[in-house]
Symmetry: C2
Subunit: 196 residues, 2 copies
DNA sequence: TAGCTTGTTGAGCACTGCTCAGCAAGCCGG
DNA sequence: CCGGCTTGCTGAGCAGTGCTCAACAAGCTA
């Protein structure tokens, strides 16, 4: 009886891929309000309508889980920043900067949670973050047409820290300058740092 | 019997001030190896030779405890960086920069733990960190003889992030430039940012 | 000696990460 | 239709950790 194919949110039997995706998605949704490392298995399982045990079936460890969530967040950011193929190199960096500011404006809390989680000490999470930064340096140096030496990499990475901090502050208190001024300033600092 | 005044590490009865200081000191010693928030009450109590309960007598909450530890670390940094009274303003910033690099060189792990803990999401810890940054901006702007407006504060704060990141990288891989080149570069970036 | 203050402890509760033995839903070969 | 296999899934329960509470005990003062 009542065998109607109702779209119940109950503990349906799902394929392994679906479940993993669902669990990671829940993690992403919780990210704005909770530091990654403080996601509780209980809460995630409850939202997914499954038992704690099942979560450990898919992620052997809590760390495995929130690392996966972090990686998903990093991938989203990466895909959003990556210049569209065919873009002339000169405007690639400007475009990425523009999209980065837009990203922070739109997903302020999620992005802060991502950065915090990365800085928060856990080596596994930091690694995901560092990996993203490394890839971004690659793209940036290539787009700028600059040689890829150790010094320049250090400077560009430090410039990322500068950018992250300044954009973060500016989104909280945007009265100090216009959005365009911010973009020009960041671009200018980067140029002066890399071409000296 | 055996009433000798031996300096036993046992559970001596101490004054409230002494105990607090001892517990905070233990926290500082653990800081290089452990993110602040992951200090366990058990471990600290064990090292102090006391029961868990006593720690909660002095710090109502674990958060209270590691916030105190963080504040202690921040105070140490602050005292180390603060220009000696009587120093001419022009060399104050250079001196602070020099001492900051020295600090990171000497207490690399502790300082990283401090920064990580601050970035790690906990508002209480972040507040201590932000407070220190704010005081440093005050001193820096005063020493540079520059007006104290919102834009300049944002830029100096972002420059802190730049400096932290670059110095951190440089201490890991110091072959990219000499110590002096690093200092000159940082100072140069700061000047260009604040006097535009 | 009695009594007060206060440094100190052990037992124990609640929550959370994690394990394990086993249930049950779907699919296959007979 | 049945037996067996795979696999998504669960409940009970253990261990560690933050935190509470009632009570002990060391030292001071009256």
């Amino acid at each position: 009886m009542t065998a109607s194919p109702a779209p119940e949110p109950g503990p349906l039997r799902r394929s392994a891929g679906d479940r993993r995706a669902q669990l990671v998605q829940i993690g992403l949704e919780l990210l704005p309000t909770t530091p990654v490392q403080e996601l509780t298995i209980d809460e995630v399982a409850r939202r997914a309508g499954i038992s704690r045990s099942l979560l450990f079936h898919y992620f052997a460890t809590k760390r495995d889980y929130y690392t996966a969530v972090t990686r998903a967040a990093a991938d989203l950011l990466w895909e959003h920043l990556l210049p569209r193929p065919g873009t002339p190199p000169e405007v690639q960096v400007t475009g990425m900067l523009d999209r980065y500011v837009g990203w922070v404006e739109t997903f302020r809390e999620t992005h802060l949670a991502f950065v915090r989680g990365a800085a928060g000490g856990d080596p596994w999470v930091s690694e995901v973050y560092e990996e993203t930064r490394t890839r971004l340096v690659d793209v940036a140096l290539a787009a700028l047409g600059l040689p890829d030496d150790a010094l320049r990499r250090q400077l560009v990475l430090a410039w990322f820290a500068f950018t992250e901090d300044l954009v973060g502050q500016w989104t909280r208190e945007p009265t100090t300058m216009t959005r365009d001024e911010l973009l020009v300033l960041l671009r200018d600092v980067l140029d002066r740092l890399t071409t000296r």
